[in-house]
Symmetry: C2
Subunit: 231 residues, 2 copies
DNA sequence: GCATATTTGTCCGTATGTATA
DNA sequence: CTATACATACGGACAAATATG
C-alpha cells in the first residue's frame, strides 16, 4: 500500500541546490516528521523512499544517518530505520536538560543583546496571534520558538544547537498525543508572564515561573503517556 | 607518502564484531584522533583509508559522518574531511557549556548515587597515581574522567553524552598545544580540593572553586592559542 | 518449525562535477 | 588554462539477516 506521505514527499521535488543531495533529502524527511505526517514508530523502507525521491540507496542511507544523529530517526541494525518513539524515560530526561538550559538562559538575560530579548517577545506575540486565529498548530510552533529564544539568551552556538534538537524531539512527543489546543492553550499566558517578569528584571521570579511551567508540562505529558501505554 | 598513522590503523584490525562495520571503523579513527596520532587539520583521503582498513567507500563515508557529528571531523563539501581544528571562539564556547553542565553536576551532588561520587574520587586517585609515575598523558585522561564524572552527577544520559563529546574536543585542544605535564600538573591538586569540598558537602564553595578552575584553564589555553596563531 | 520472499549491509565500477597544482 | 586528483552520486551485485506464509 502506497501511503499518503510518500506521495507528498515525491511531490516536493526541490530545485537544484548547492548543498549535498543527502542533506536536501534529509531536509525533506525532517519536514515530514516535524509536521507530523510521518508519525513516531513509522518504518522508512529504503527502496520506497529512493523511488519516491529518486535518489540512490547510498544517498538515502546518508540522509538517514543525518536524521538519526538528530534523534529523529532510530536505526535498528539489520531491521531498518523508524521515526523515533520517545519513551517516558527519554521524556523525563528531555525535561531535565530543558530545565538546565532554559533556566541558564533566564539567568543570562541581563547580558543578552536586545535582539535576543526581542525574539523572545516576538514569539509570545506570534503565539497570541495564532491562538486568536485558532491556528493551534502555529501556537505550538510559536511555543517552541519561545523556548528556543529563551535558551538562546545564553549566547552559545552549542546551546543553540542542543535546544534545537531537544525541541525537535518535543515535536515528536506532541504528535504522539494530538489535541494541540488542549495542550498549548494554557501555556500561552504563562509564556507572556514569564516574558514580562524578565522584562521587568525579576529574574528570580522568572526562574521560579519557568521551573513550575516545565514541571507542569512534564507532568501533563507523562500522564498522557501512561494512559497511551495502556492501549 | 604513506604516513605512520595509516599503518597503525591498518594493523589494528579488530576481531569480528556484532555492530556495524561503519561503527567499528569510526571507533578506530576516534582512537587515532583522541590519542593524537591524527593531528588537528590533517586531511583524511577516502581512498587511502578504505585501502588501509579494507572497507568500501560507502562504509568509510558513514564512519566519517558519525565522527563529524561528534565534531571530531569536519566535512567540507566537495573538498573532503579533516580532523577538526578548534578555533579560539569554539574554545570559549566549549568552556561556556562546560561551566553550565559541570556546575549543575556540583549542585546535583546531594541527589547523586554513591557510585557516581565514588567515580569522582577514583578519577582523582588515578590522576595522582599517574602523576607519581610520571605518566602525564594518563594524568590528562584522568582529568577528563574527573570532569566527566562531575557532569554525570546530574544523572542524565543526555548530559553524559554532551560532556563526552565536549571532552573529546578538549583532547583536540590539548593535542594542538602539547606539553601535557605543564598543563595538567597544576590542576591535580585542584581536582582533589574540589572533590574534598563536595565530600564535605560545601557545595557553594565547590562551585566557586570549579568556576575559578574553569576560568583559569580557559585563560591559559586561550593565551597559548593566541601565541600559536602568531606562527 | 521450516522454507521462501523481502530487506538490509556491504562492496564495486563508473560517470560527473569540483577544486587545486 | 589544462591537467590531475578527488569527492559526489548512481546503479547493480551478492551475502546475511529478517519477516512472512
Amino acid at each position: 500500500m502506497r501511503e499518503r506521505w510518500l506521495d507528498e514527499l515525491a511531490a516536493a521535488r526541490p530545485g537544484l541546490d548547492r548543498s549535498s543531495t543527502a542533506a536536501r533529502v534529509a531536509g525533506l524527511l525532517r519536514e515530514q516528521i516535524t509536521d507530523g505526517r510521518l508519525v513516531p514508530g513509522a518504518r522508512l523502507p529504503e527502496e520506497d523512499l529512493c523511488r519516491a525521491v529518486k535518489v540512490s540507496r547510498n544517498t538515502m542511507r546518508e540522509a538517514f544517518r543525518m536524521l538519526a544523529q538528530e534523534r529523529l530517526l532510530v536505526h535498528e541494525f539489520n531491521r531498518g530505520v523508524f521515526v523515533r518513539r520517545v519513551t517516558a524515560d527519554a521524556l523525563a530526561d528531555l525535561y531535565r536538560v530543558r530545565r538546565i538550559l532554559e533556566c541558564e538562559g533566564v539567568r543570562c538575560a541581563p547580558d543578552a543583546p536586545p535582539e535576543a530579548l526581542a525574539r523572545l517577545e516576538a514569539a509570545v506575540l506570534d503565539g497570541e496571534r495564532a491562538a486568536g486565529a485558532g491556528r493551534w498548530a502555529d501556537v505550538g510552533t510559536a511555543d517552541i520558538r519561545f523556548h528556543q529564544a529563551l535558551a538562546a539568551l545564553v549566547g552559545s552556538p552549542r546551546v543553540d544547537e542542543m535546544i534545537r534538537h531537544l525541541l525537535a524531539e518535543m515535536r515528536l512527543v506532541f504528535h504522539e498525543m494530538g489535541s494541540p489546543r488542549e495542550f498549548h492553550e494554557p501555556y500561552l499566558a504563562r509564556n507572556r508572564r514569564l516574558h514580562d517578569l524578565m522584562a521587568r528584571g525579576d529574574l528570580a521570579a522568572a526562574e521560579r515561573e519557568l521551573r513550575s511551567y516545565l514541571d507542569d508540562a512534564e507532568a501533563q505529558l507523562t500522564k498522557a503517556y501512561r494512559e497511551n501505554e495502556r492501549l
